[in-house]
Amino acid sequence: MSARGRPRSLRLRHVCPSRWQQRRLLNHFISKAPEPTDEPTPAFSFTLAVKDNIATTTPPASTPTTTPTTTPTPPPPSPPPLPTTCASPFLAAYHSPFEATIVTQLRARGARLVGKTNLDEFGMGSHSTFSAAGAAAQTPAAGAAAGTQDPAVRLSAGGSSGGSAVAVADGAADVALGTDTGGSVRLPAAYCGVVGFKPSYGMLSRFGVVPYANSLDTVGLLARGVGRIRELVVGPGGLWSEHDARDPTSLSEAARRRCARGREGYAAGRAGEGPVGGVLRGVRFGMPLEYNIAELDPRIRDAWAATAKRLQDEFGARVVPVSLPTTRHALAAYYVIAPAEASSNLAKYDGVRYGARDEDAASDAAGGVLYAGSRGRGFGDEVKRRILLGSYTLSSEAMDNYFIQAQRVRRLVRRDFNRVFALDNPLHERETFELSELDESIAMEDKWGPEEVDFLLCPTAPTLAPKLERVLNQTPVDAYMNDVFTVPASLAGLPAISIPMPVASNAAGAMPEGPGTAGLQLIGQYWDDARLLSVAGAVSKTLQAADPGR
């Protein structure tokens, strides 16, 4: 139940079957489930990799359907349960006594757990480098260096769900679970060229997900195509309808039904399935002006613009510019709120029950500081940085200027979204907006204001996957910049998905070993997940068809 024995921070890898050894450099798994040895694999329909901050236990021995002719064999010894380490020395040997609801739900839908994937410690990071198990990485998928083992050309897998993205990209798993707090599923998906989906806040149960920042955390899904995710979330018997009584932020059955009534795609009829053109015709996409920042890689900007043009010209979609003026403050607000909640959530790791106790430390008696030593040793640098940041912003003198302000910004971010989306947010009263507050560059549709949209279309990250070497030499604040496009949807609790978008290789060929894709992000109104997945699937198909590299 609690930490057993000494922490094995340097020996986190538990099982490493030979098949994976050639990919050792990827370091995308922290622990792996043993390969099923016997042939009669039950009705597993897909393989599942789970980010290592989601609690897993050994599944209850599946009652084997023994036929009377076979001699009863003793049940095979159940494999050792996989630990849930969160890539932290504190939980190096932690075996959860219970399983996360989402894992149980996916097992019930035919998932076979293949392993627990690498991440930034407790989900805090953008490149999966702050891990007690060592940095995860990917090899370039395209170009001359594809499949190389050379550490110098390895690329960032993105973070914090980097291990999950790599596991999906290299085929180790069909579906991977990640957690998305400020883009931790979408960013690695964009870097690794896979699909990463962050659902509406409150749709998927967080019970069993080790919290980083509860008000932002969502369980996310990664796969190589949109279809698989769509099937699981909004297909028949989809996850969207399941309330979890153990998660107080999981929407009640009644609220789910109410939210779904105003949305398309949840009804039994598979609306939205059909020819790409049919799905996209008449859909209104907004291009947020504020996302066209100076730091945006020109290749991404070009691909973004080209995609928008194709959607409009060839598929009958509408593309209009929109303004989300609070975007520029969103990142700052995120890096106040998330560390504040993190500093609170991580208070339980004190060396008393988890991790190694600093035996030299003073007692807790007056003047002594029992926990400081243990916490100082037990956490990695990035986690310590965010705990300090959060502790400061919550302190009585800084609270008003940081935490409270950040919450106000958060409301404004949500308001921005509510203003541009045609659909109302079912969680809030309908607001009216002053036209005078609007950016002048926005074209009015009529005297009532600018055109409202169905989805926002924007890049997932401002750059392509950077080289790992470069990332390791970055300052922390540089790394925080990667989240600039993903954080707003997290602050507003909206569904968002990143799909691979091919980019042209540099004309000069300066980076032949670079990634071939960037991430294209679609953001929808709250609980519009079903239509978002349907439209994202269609957009994804148009991108594949247009891929210059294929």
């Binding site: 069993g208 080790v210 007692s363 919550l394």
Partner: protein, 628 residues
């Protein structure tokens, strides 16, 4: 000491310092050290209807204290006080210091009466095996989440209503961060920014034991009442180890915060006592202060008389008895005044108090204060309490203690002291027991047994007094020898109320004597008399009161009076007008002799007195006159 209303405080005050052992937590050690004194008090304070005579002292009535360290320590303190020429002032005489004004605000933490914890479905428990009621969230397992238990609102809202607070429609939960091993999550969930209820008022009357300087009544404002989690229980082990019991983690507490407007130490203690009584009366909390179910922190400041504003305050944490509240406030007030008079300044700091000490001690200063970094709990939504719930709970709350006390005193004719004792004993179960007994007695006697209608009459009052006397004093004597009554919250104990009512019914109708009644009580308590078998036991034991006839009484009187010429002479002198007062003492002396000489179980002292009196007037005195 008439204004000190409760048996509990009475025991403290009348037994002096030794009585403080009585506020130690835990029921086991509670009565032993005070047993000897307690019996004396109860004897000397028996009401007029009490038929009790002085009870035999317990076998080990030797006043030499057992060698407990605390007691030894107290003795030594007393000795050193004596040696230094100072004697400890009685608290009642120490409520004010000339030239200074005291201001006290109190925070009271009380465990709510619920079946489940505040944020998990684990059961609440008091003395179950350690760590046997711990949900995943209670142990702060990574990935476990809080689940607010709405049932907690019932006692909490009742508590708020009993204290006159306005229940807020929306309240919220915040995390309060500090590191301690008794708190697995590293934070406590409380209601800092938006508490459950605000703006209450508690009226303290003289009978609640407020300082004489506060007059007949004083009102204390309740600023807010909030819900919060309790922490784990730590048990220190030899060798510096600490054992943790997570059963207590997450138990629901209410924290009640008063305005800083209490002016006297006794009033501070009275407030805590009154809050406890109010909470119990609405069934909002299970355990009293003496069992650790209620804890108080007091904020104390002083200022020179006539000055505006408040002085710097210090906080004294974790006071676990009413006496400790009063003593700690007095000690801290005196310390602050001494500091200021010496030209120093009072530092805002947290201080501690141990039982029996005369000074508070510094726990941590301002620089050591923890910044609690309050943050709204992101997993927990707001608590919305509908008006309908508040209305319903308000309507079903029953009478508040003050109303009940008025009814007992004015309606049933009990003394305020006895009424309060009944209400406070056994966590409020004793009064329920009293009502049951009274109803059963009245039913037996064929009166209207509704308790309110019948009791206005004189007969009704006599029944109530009889029942109260037995429920309080005679039942109390049982616990002096034996461990406990086994009183249940709904008012039943090892002496079933029906059996006590049977005894009292027979006693009231003079079918048995008081002595037989007491013996029967013991018999029922010990189990010698089966439940429901009181009348049967009287029958088989031949214990019916078959009173002597008047002739037999007269014969007995004659026998006793023989040779008592000197005593009888007093009656003659009274008759002749040579003494003014009737020699009642002499009469009772003769009656006593008569009672001893005759078959006691067939005699009633009143009848004996009546016969003796008439024999003296009609036979003996004329006889003496004739002789003279």
């Amino acid at each position: 000491m008439g204004r000190i209303p409760t048996a509990e405080l009475g025991r403290y005050l009348l037994t002096g310092q030794l009585g403080r052992q009585g506020c130690l937590r835990g029921a086991g050690g509670r009565r032993f050290p005070t047993r000897h004194f307690a019996s004396q008090i109860e004897t000397s304070t028996s009401t007029s209807t009490s038929t009790s005579t002085s009870t035999a002292l317990p076998p080990n009535a030797d006043p030499a204290p057992p060698p407990t360290p605390l007691r030894k320590q107290l003795k030594e303190q007393a000795r050193s006080l004596k040696a230094s020429g100072k004697t400890k002032t009685k608290n009642a005489d120490n409520q004010t210091v000339a030239g200074w004004e005291l201001t006290v605000g109190i925070e009271i933490h009380a465990q709510l009466n619920t079946a489940r914890k505040l944020f998990s479905a684990a059961a609440t428990s008091v003395n179950d095996a350690a760590n046997s009621h711990v949900a995943l969230f209670d142990a702060a397992m990574p990935g476990a989440q809080p689940l607010f238990q709405p049932a907690t609102l019932i006692p909490a809202v009742r508590a708020a209503l009993a204290l006159g607070c306005t229940v807020q429609r929306v309240s919220r939960f915040d995390r309060k961060h500090y590191f301690h091993w008794d708190q697995p999550a590293g934070y406590q969930i409380t209601q800092y920014h938006a508490p459950l209820a605000r703006g209450g008022r508690v009226v303290l009357r003289a009978r609640d034991g407020i300082a004489g300087e506060d007059g007949a009544a004083v009102a204390v404002a309740i600023r807010q009442l909030q819900l919060e989690q309790d922490t784990a229980k730590t048990t220190a082990q030899p060798g510096g180890a600490h054992w943790l019991d997570l059963n207590r983690v997450g138990l629901p507490l209410v924290e009640i915060i008063t305005a800083p407007e209490i002016r006297h130490p006794a009033t501070a203690a009275a407030l805590v006592r009154k809050v406890q009584m109010l909470l119990r009366s609405v069934d909002a909390c299970v355990l009293g202060m003496e069992a650790g179910g209620l804890r108080a922190d007091v904020n104390v400041s002083v200022r020179r008389a006539g000055e505006g504003g408040l002085g710097t305050r210090t906080e004294i944490k974790n006071l676990s008895s009413f006496r400790a509240v009063e003593d700690a406030v007095i000690a801290e007030r005196d310390r602050q005044i001494a500091v200021l008079e010496a030209g120093g300044t009072v530092a805002g700091e947290t201080r501690g108090w141990s039982l029996g000490s005369t000074e508070t001690r510094r726990l941590r200063g301002k620089e050591g204060e923890v910044d609690y970094r309050y943050m709204p709990d992101p997993d927990l939504g707001p608590v919305v309490v509908g008006d309908d719930l508040v209305r319903h709970l308000g309507a079903s709350m029953g009478a508040l203690p003050d109303a009940e006390l008025d009814q007992l005193v004015d309606g049933h004719g009990l003394s305020a002291k006895d009424a309060l004792s009944l209400m406070l004993l056994d966590d409020g179960a004793r009064i329920q027991y009293f009502y049951k007994v009274l109803d059963a007695v009245e039913a037996r006697l064929g009166c209207a047994g509704d308790g309110t209608g019948g009791c206005q009459t004189q007969a009704g009052q006599r029944h109530a007094l009889l029942a109260a006397n037995w429920c309080l004093h005679e039942l109390g004597k049982l616990t002096e020898i034996s461990s406990d009554l086994g009183m249940t919250p709904d008012g039943e104990c090892h002496v079933p109320s029906g059996d006590l009512a049977a005894i009292l019914g027979h006693l009231h109708q003079r079918e048995i004597t008081a002595k037989v009644a007491k013996d029967l009580l013991w018999g029922v308590f010990r189990g010698d008399v089966a439940a429901g078998g009181v009348t049967q036991a009287i029958e088989t034991g031949g214990l019916w009161f078959r009173e002597l006839s008047e002739q037999e009484y007269a014969a007995l009187a004659d026998r006793v009076a023989h040779g008592e010429a000197k005593v009888l002479g007093d009656f003659l002198r009274f008759k002749q007008g040579r003494t003014k007062a009737y020699p009642q003492g002499k009469l009772m002396f003769l009656v006593g002799k008569m009672m001893r000489a005759g078959p006691e179980q067939q005699m009633d002292p009143a009848s004996a007195e009546k016969v003796m009196r008439s024999r003296i007037e009609q036979v003996y005195v004329p006889g003496l006159e004739a002789e003279a």
